[in-house]
Amino acid sequence: MDALLNFFMVFTHPQLLLLVGLGTFAGVYIGAIPGLSVTMAVSILISFTFSWDVLPALALMIGIFMGGVYGGSRTAILLNIPGAPSAIATALDGYPMAQRGEAGTAIGITTVMSFFGGFVGIAALAIAAPFVSGVALAFQPRDYMLLALLGILLVGSLSGGSLVKGIFAGAFGIALGAVGMDPLTFTERFTFGVPLLQSGISFVAVMIGMFGVSEALAQLHHIDTPAIKQKITRIVPSFGTIKKYLPLSLQTSSIGVFIGALPGTGGDIAALMAYDYAKRVTRKPARPFGQGAIEGLVAPETANNAAVGGAFIPMMTLGIPGDAVTAIMIGALFIHGLNPGPMLMIDRPEMFWFIVGALVVANVFMLIFGLTGIRLFTKIVEMPRAVLVPLIMLLSIVGAYAVNNSVTDVYWMLGFGVLGYFMRLYGYPLGPVILGLILSRLFDDNWRRAIISENENLGAFFHGIFTSPLSMVLFLAVIWIFVSQTPLVPMIKSRLFARTGTDGASK
């Protein structure tokens, strides 16, 4: 009964309702404007809502999150520029539709399907999270350690590009999180004798630098690209259209929930996998995939919004974020004194049901804002980058300053912004850095707890892993990522074959 009451809290408090609506509205536009990302918006917002009560702050951020995941599809369809990584697959068929003058239809279907996927995800969250957190209570410290490792590795390996660079970025994040006084022994770590470093580096400053300033600097490369104008007509899709794609959308939503719920994988992977799935199961698309197939819009858009609910499952129950955005959401919860993990569900169940309620409201707002205000939308998207980029930079500085009222944080933010810029340019993923930074404490604490409970005996530690089914599965998953993603196996094979080849030649 309490759960129901907390679930409806958002609906009964006009202020919270308004904030979710405002957040969703902002999220849709932020997600849609090329150069603004949800990750950027949420990291900057954390600093601004720092002094707020936890409920209004969460209401705003959940709205932005939900709206932002959807908003990326808009520019993917209109400009072939995915506003967010989760909209990459949407561009494949959405842009060809827009080129045929069917942008309105494409946006309409995308919106309704995102709404549908969003609900499937939220339902999965409401049903699965209490169960998962019950199971999670039986997790050993070593399981948490392995889960954290798995999350960082998955983000590093799946975010596209080199796994080696992903692992580097994850390790760098963990090391960054260790800077300052060790909370258990009060030993200084990575402080280089500088008193300023004793309290560690503000993760908000790192986040804003990496996702705000570095993105803004990267945008300067495209400063002269003109905005493209599009005419949009009819948006609201007919009921028949929706009914036709309902079976597919249910399947792809399930894919989205599942992928989103895996630690370390989020909407972008879910969308690509769902797109691939739709391509395989659709026997006779009205138009081939890649040339404007509606199935190619339905699949990624249901999946990436379903992944939002899915991603909240490990985040709320285990404290393990699904991707960079959820990592930042965890950071936001930390800042407001909440500790995501199985105990959150037991100590503060009202928080969980509030979040579920807020997600539902955000999903409804997303549908409303998605189907209306198209004229305003085209105006905002056409905002010149030459004005947008300085504004992002200004907001980044204000955000970095606001958390601790310290200029030092602004310098950190700028430093990490420049570093992040170069990391982007040279193909180092930034997501694992943030994931590592957020998970550093959890990883370190649980490693030490695990090894102390085994009396510092590494053999006993591994014996524990191999004799517990859960630890074993997690351990094998970590190993699997290495084996499947590194060229180690093919390299050894090719070396071996090359040797026998030359041996054969010399004989």
């Binding site: 990459i88 990575f190 990267a218 200004l394 912004g417 810029y421």
Partner: protein, 189 residues
């Protein structure tokens, strides 16, 4: 961010962004990788200094593990990138550090330096006007107008709604805010 005219296929583009192609080394890439490697080595040394090989549960164990991983991966990255052919179509000046990036970074540093002594409003105004004038290249009047509009909007939203405290510097801000508050609650007071 992809070029608007290309289909963004993650398998075809390199993971570098913006620009870059797979299997080619970008200008300055090897230098950056080398700097990363040296920094990782320094961090490994610093991690060793925390508690050495005292115990597996010592405060320095995880830092040593992670920095060791950093050194190994940074070494691998450097090894791979120096073996790749350099991309002759890209230059540092055009693709890595274009003029705008350097100038805007300097403007940002200038902003951070001036923020406390000068205060939020004048510093932000200066920053916006210079940056927008430089990037947009419209008349001073348009630049001033857009900057002022944006600044007022940001100020109202963040100072009043989000109650973010910014350095006041030379501006009598407390009086201004009181004035705005009086204006807003004029009828009720």
């Amino acid at each position: 961010m992809q070029d608007p005219n290309s289909i963004p296929d993650p398998a075809l583009t390199s993971d570098a962004d913006p620009g870059g192609v797979p299997d080619m080394r970008r200008p300055g890439e090897a230098v950056f990788d080398a700097v990363i490697l040296v920094a990782s080595l320094a961090l490994l040394w610093s991690a060793y200094d925390i508690s050495g090989f005292e115990a597996l549960s010592a405060p320095g164990t995880v830092p040593m593990m992670t920095t060791l991983v950093m050194v190994i991966t940074a070494g691998l990255v450097l090894y791979r990138s120096i073996r790749l052919p350099i991309d002759g179509r890209e230059t540092v000046k055009h693709d890595i550090l274009p003029f705008y990036v350097i100038v805007l970074t300097l403007l940002l540093v200038g902003y951070a330096v001036l923020l406390v002594p000068l205060g939020f409003l004048p510093t932000s105004a200066l920053f916006l006007i210079l940056a927008i004038k430089l990037l947009w290249q419209r008349s001073w009047l348009v630049t001033f107008g857009v900057s002022a509009f944006a600044l007022v909007l940001i100020y109202l939203v963040f100072r009043i709604v989000f109650t973010v405290l910014m350095p006041t510097g030379i501006v009598p801000e407390a009086e201004m805010i009181q004035w705005i508050r009086n204006l807003l609650s004029g009828g009720q007071a």
